[in-house]
């Protein structure tokens, strides 16, 4: 709740690191009224993810996902970007920190530079490009990546000829906006913030250290990140897969896994979690680029533990023909005359093989930045033994210093969705910490009354932008402006040097007032990034911001028809005419808003539900937990220890206690949701037991269920138990004595009909095995496994188990172990790959590592809220990488096992993330509906239900009086309903039929004139 008051807490947050994790936290906080200071070491935000070509398991292109976020961060009024900056000192306590920042000089004035790139073309100094991983060169004055945010150029002082030897200054000569400023100096300043979020990400392991792999010596051995750049269409080879040595297309490509990971001797002991999957993705995408490529992956264990990961690997094997060899490469030699590489390894049956590959990709892992120790000292937090930020499993985003949180890979190697989830989680934690200071540090702009122009004749103003040389070099800008003066509806038409520059903005405002314009067209770059900028400008002089259209004559005309002056000018004229024709039909759009009830419904009282509820309650919102059983706790109630030994029972009790006596939380036990009416912002829910309440958001944490095994004789003998039952016995003081415990992995997981990894069973097995061996070393523990998937920092415990003498025997799904029981004697037969023969064991106890299933309630809850589920029955999130806790329709979030099997710490992170996301929504009194939505005309609609059937967001619905109505709050304006409506009852604002028809007519003016 927003209590302005005189609270000492500050309403802003400092985020150290501009990768996807930091950006998600920044957007969540800024959207909910907090000022954000983002500190970024490089000249642009984006981090590692912006270097990737595609992402697993969907194959979506990474830049398409991250660049809208980067633009949003770059433009957000509540976010201040401090690039080329580093934090030097932090004082103060939670709610009130003083942070000193050192900012390197950029030598280019951000206000003036328009990112036109003329300077870069003329700069003579070539430098190895870090972003392209050394595959190509960049200039001394450069932008980190084509879609950099901010896209102001930066001068690299080490390589700039002028800054080093006082010569050249070519960039100054060619910069029309005279934005180059060599007198720029480093700056030091202090920021007052309430909370600090650390998201510095990780460095990549440099494989040069391991000589035998030949990186740095043989050119055709590349790192996986270099291969990402090779695959990328905006990379050095524009997406064509070529060998660095001779630019030939490689046929046989090998991926070597665990380079720099799981290798305590000369690299890092932990598993970097993502290499198995990105290697598979790179193999698949490479095959898509060039069908003749034969990919082979050399690996120790295929760690495809995430959602739909196993299915992705199976598809790689069957559809793309990727060959997986479970063996490590001892060394790589180059055949000098062909440049190909000879890999030596031992095959399954032990024979030594030399196989020739055209190219080798080293799947390098992560490791903390070189300055990680110093970074930790600056922020006053303690690193763990490996140099990551030290956190505990049960509070994964809190560092050792209160008020300082961590997200992303700096907390431990992880994949993008977990990083994004932790981004929202730390946003949620900061909101909880600074709850009452929300909104105090941001400045809300006062806007004048909107002019009513509905009666006026269209008076269109056209501003054609030179954009320095970018447009003017190819398009006769003055000619276009002149041509438009006579065009119907145009009252004013002129050119501008830089429309988006501050002076350009002022000129536009002046002309609008002077000529009483009621429609504005700017012909310049792409509406995707700059339309919001101009819309806000015209709104500042009272014009409704939807009376604006941006004609793209740079990216879609001058830049792609370079040199063809007269054709490009003609095309530019036509593009502007099309937009003016549309402008004549533009109507003002008033976005109404919907009240938001500052309360949330949490379905499920397990760890996920309770964590979300507590975080939301701390943020000041009322929360209703609905739990089907008669007490809270969920599955975690019968878990005793985490892998690193934290006491789970105590944690669950503590959570239950916190929930029970939190003033904002109401718990409804032993009941279910009867029905939920209303829509996002104002839901009304009735429970089975009759309780009723209103709320604005819903967190679905309906949890999961343990698989009840039938196989391996579980039903026939009580010597065959599950890991959960063993854990209970250990907790109750089991004396293992010298008994022999035999564990079997993947029981009920990773095979049809439920072909997915339940992610927790390897951890459970290792945890119990260590507990038994530590209790009595004489006891014998054997684990029959398919792949031990102790990913991330959990790898240490796999190492510890082996050191304690636990035996690991691998089996293939075709030759599963056989358990035969007669009376008390249990015989287990299996095939041992290492000994290469069948073995028979006689354990005292067989322990089954059973997997997880979606809770039977998932289907019912799914139907109630129209939530889709994946084939395995888990809920499907809005976007697998960038919206891991959201559902497609707004106001609904997911957390915990209902989304997918996950470990307890990941459940906590996801629950905090869901609370963070819901907090952003609930922090607004009013939920403003976006302007570009579909409008429904009820009197010409005959309820034929075609729209109801096709709308992906379920916004058309059959209302009380049985006719079709349309819920504008949920509508995203895609217009599929308008496309199919036979009565044309749906029209999308700014894309109405008359507007599109006007554009078509304008585009075909010259043809009709000629005919």
């Amino acid at each position: 709740m927003k209590k302005k008051g005189n609270s000492t807490k500050r309403g802003s947050v400092l985020i150290a690191g501009g990768g996807i994790g930091g950006m998600q936290a920044a957007l969540d906080l800024a959207d909910s009224g907090f000022k954000v200071h983002m500190i970024q070491k490089d000249s642009s935000i984006g981090g590692t993810m912006s270097m990737l070509d595609k992402t697993f398991p969907t194959g979506d292109c990474s830049m398409c996902m991250i660049s809208p976020k980067m633009v949003e961060v770059g433009r957000h009024p509540n976010i201040v970007l401090h690039t080329l900056s580093e934090v030097t000192a932090v004082e103060g306590e939670p709610g009130d920190f003083t942070v000193s920042v050192h900012e390197q000089p950029r030598y280019v004035d951000a206000e003036k530079c328009t990112g036109c790139g003329a300077c870069e073309k003329k700069c003579p100094k070539l430098v190895v490009s870090e972003f392209e991983q050394g595959l190509t060169k960049r200039k001394a004055i450069y932008s980190l990546l084509p879609q950099a945010v901010p896209n102001t150029r930066v001068i690299d002082p080490v390589n700039c000829l002028y800054l080093q030897r006082g010569r050249c200054k070519a960039c100054v000569k060619f910069c029309d906006a005279n934005a180059i400023n060599f007198d720029d100096t480093a700056k030091d300043y202090q920021l007052q913030v309430g909370a600090i979020i650390l998201s510095p990400g990780l460095d990549r392991y440099n494989p040069r250290v391991r000589q035998e792999l030949g990186f740095g010596r043989w050119p055709n051995v590349v790192t996986s990140l270099q291969f990402e750049r090779i695959l990328s269409a905006s990379g050095p080879f524009s997406g064509e897969i070529k060998r660095p040595s001779d630019d030939k297309h490689p046929r046989k490509v090998a991926w070597i896994q665990c380079v720099g990971s799981r290798d305590p001797h000369n690299a890092n002991p932990w598993c970097s979690s993502v290499c198995c999957m990105y290697a598979t993705k790179q193999a698949v995408i490479a095959k898509e680029h060039d069908g003749s490529i034969q990919p082979t992956v050399f690996y120790m264990e295929m760690r495809a533990f995430g959602k739909d990961f196993d299915k992705y690997v199976d598809r790689a094997k069957t559809e793309y023909g990727v060959v997986y060899r479970r063996t490590m490469i001892s060394d790589v030699k180059e055949d000098p005359d062909t440049g190909s590489l000879i890999l030596r390894y031992a095959a399954e049956d032990g024979k030594l093989i030399n196989e020739v590959f055209d190219m080798v990709v080293l799947s390098i892992g992560f490791q903390p930045h070189a300055d990680a120790a110093e970074f930790a000292r600056t922020f006053g937090i303690e690193p763990n033994i490996h140099g990551f930020a030290r956190t505990s499993t049960l509070s994964p985003v809190e560092t050792t210093r209160p008020g300082v949180y961590v997200t992303g890979t700096y907390q431990g190697p992880k994949d993008i969705p977990e990083t994004v989830a932790q981004g929202s989680a730390v946003a949620g934690r900061s909101m909880a910490l600074l709850g009452e200071a929300r909104g105090t540090d941001i400045t809300v702009q006062e806007l004048p009354e909107e002019r009513d122009i509905t009666e006026e004749e269209p008076r269109v103003g056209v501003f054609v932008c030179h954009c320095g040389i970018n447009i003017a070099q190819t398009v006769d800008v003055k000619g276009v402006a002149e041509e438009m003066r006579g065009y119907p509806g145009v009252t004013y038409s002129d050119d501008l040097m830089y429309a988006c520059a501050p002076d350009g903005q002022e000129k536009i405002k002046e002309i609008i007032n002077e000529h009483k314009l009621n429609r504005v067209i700017v012909a310049s770059c792409t509406p995707r990034t700059h339309a919001p900028l101009f819309q806000d400008t015209i709104r500042e002089v009272g014009l409704n911001k939807y009376l604006f259209e941006l004609a793209d004559i740079r990216e879609q005309c001058s830049w792609c028809h370079m040199g063809q002056k007269e054709i490009a000018t003609l095309k530019a004229k036509e593009i502007v005419k099309m937009n003016v024709a549309k402008a004549r039909h533009l109507q003002p759009v008033h976005t109404d808003a919907v009240d938001v009830t500052p309360a949330a419904l949490v379905i499920g009282g397990g760890v996920a539900g309770m964590t979300s509820a507590l975080s939301l309650a701390d943020q000041g919102f009322d929360v209703h937990i609905v739990e089907k059983n008669d007490q809270l706790g969920g599955l975690a109630a019968n878990v005793y220890r985490t892998l690193d030994g934290s006491d789970v029972q105590a944690f669950v009790e503590e959570k239950i206690a916190a929930v029970d006596n939190h003033p904002n939380i109401a718990t409804h036990l032993d009941t279910e949701v009867e029905n939920t009416g209303g829509f996002v912002g104002s839901f009304k829910t009735t429970l089975a037991n009759g309780d009723q309440f209103a709320h604005g958001a819903i967190v679905v944490a309906s949890g999961g269920m343990e698989y009840e095994p039938e196989e391996y004789g579980y039903k026939e003998s009580d010597h065959v138990i599950t890991q959960r039952e063993l854990e209970k016995q250990i907790a109750e003081g089991l004396d293992p004595g010298s008994r022999h415990f035999l564990m079997i992995q993947c029981v009920g997981s990773r095979e049809e009909p439920l072909n997915f990894c339940s992610r927790i069973c390897c951890q459970d097995a290792i945890k119990n095995a260590i507990a038994i061996k530590e209790k009595s070393p004489a006891a014998q523990v054997t684990i029959l496994y398919r792949d031990i998937r102790t990913y991330g920092l959990r790898e240490d415990f796999y190492q510890k188990a082996r050191d304690l003498g636990v035996l690991f025997v691998r089996f293939e799904p075709e030759a599963k172990p056989q358990v035969d029981i007669d009376g008390d004697r249990i015989q287990v037969s299996a095939f041992d790959y290492v000994l290469n023969r069948d073995i028979r064991l006689f354990p005292d106890t067989v322990v089954l590592s059973t997997g997880l299933r979606p809770h039977p309630l998932t289907e019912k809850v799914g139907k109630q809220y129209k939530l889709t589920r994946n084939p395995d029955g888990f809920f499907l999130e809005a976007h697998v990488k960038l919206r891991p806790v959201d559902f497609p329709s707004e106001g609904l979030y997911v957390a915990g096992l209902a989304h997918a099997p996950k470990n307890l710490d990941e459940t906590v992170s996801q629950a905090l993330a869901a609370a963070g996301r819901a907090g952003v929504l609930l922090s607004h009194d009013k939920l403003s509906v976006s302007g570009i939505i579909s409008k429904h005309d009820r009197d010409i609609c005959m309820s034929c239900l075609a729209c109801l059937r096709v709308c992906p967001f379920g916004s058309p619905f059959i209302d009380e009086d049985g006719k079709v109505s349309h819920n504008e709050v949920i509508c995203t304006g895609c217009g599929i309903c308008a496309g199919i409506c036979p009565a044309k009852a749906f029209q999308v604002n700014n894309f109405r039929d008359d507007q599109i028809h006007a554009m078509i007519d304008a585009a075909t003016e010259n043809i009709c004139a000629k005919a």
Binding site: M942, C944, A946, R949, V950, P982, A983
Partner: protein, 223 residues
């Protein structure tokens, strides 16, 4: 609802090619639901005919318009002027609308659709026949599935000898009505009803008995 299908463009062109001013006139209820005769389809059809006209080098002014329903007088008032303007109307309503206009306007009214059947919307874009309007409903005896509308030979004591794995002898895409009836009776536990012989049907209330009329005096308005 009533389901119809647009006539092939060639046939429609033959109707209007000698006229100078043609109005393509949509009906926005039943035939709009099956997306064949609604106002939007009228607009599309008008555009197709205009292009046909340019291809044939014939000068015809083709406009389009439409009303809610062409089977009730009052709806026509809104489009009176457009209909006056035209010297021929191509109505994309079902057969009812075309005839209703023909009774009221002294100019050629051409049918845009082939009205096919009374049907249900099984799913978006799939319309299937359900009722023959025989005037004497026997659905109570057959578990709610009509052999008259859905059996190719209107067998009253089916199935005939030709049904194979649940499909009618005439085509694998057509369910055997009696297979559906037997399954349905089994579901409702009324399978013993199957053995009762269905008496010979009185077809006098069907179309065979001549064109039908319903008069509701209590509703009639003595305007």
């Amino acid at each position: 609802m009533i389901v119809g299908e647009q006539k092939p463009l060639e046939e429609l062109w033959e109707y209007i090619k000698d006229h100078k001013k043609v109005l393509v006139f949509g009906c926005n209820t039943c035939v709009a639901v099956c997306q064949q005769g609604g106002n939007k389809e009228a607009e599309i059809l008008a555009s197709m005919l205009r292009m046909k006209a340019t291809q044939e080098g014939v000068d015809i002014d083709i406009q389009d318009s439409g009303i809610e329903r062409q089977c009730e007088h009052e709806f026509f008032e809104k489009a009176e002027d457009r209909i006056e303007w035209a010297d021929a109307v191509l109505s994309t309503a079902c057969g009812i609308g075309v005839q209703f206009m023909a009774e009221n306007y002294p100019k050629p009214i051409y049918p845009g659709l082939n009205t096919t059947f009374l049907g249900a919307v099984e799913e978006l874009g799939v319309y299937t026949e359900r009722c023959q309007a025989c005037g004497q409903c026997i659905l109570a005896r057959t578990g709610g599935i009509c052999p008259i509308a859905r059996c190719a030979k209107r067998v009253m004591n089916g199935p005939c000898g030709g049904s194979t794995n649940g499909k009618c002898e005439i085509s694998k895409d057509v369910d055997c009505a009696w297979q559906l009836i037997v399954d349905r009776l089994k579901l409702l536990g009324q399978l013993d009803q199957y053995e009762e012989l269905t008496p010979i049907k009185d077809w006098s209330s069907d179309r065979a008995g001549g064109p039908r009329k319903l008069v509701r005096e209590d509703v009639q308005h003595d305007s």
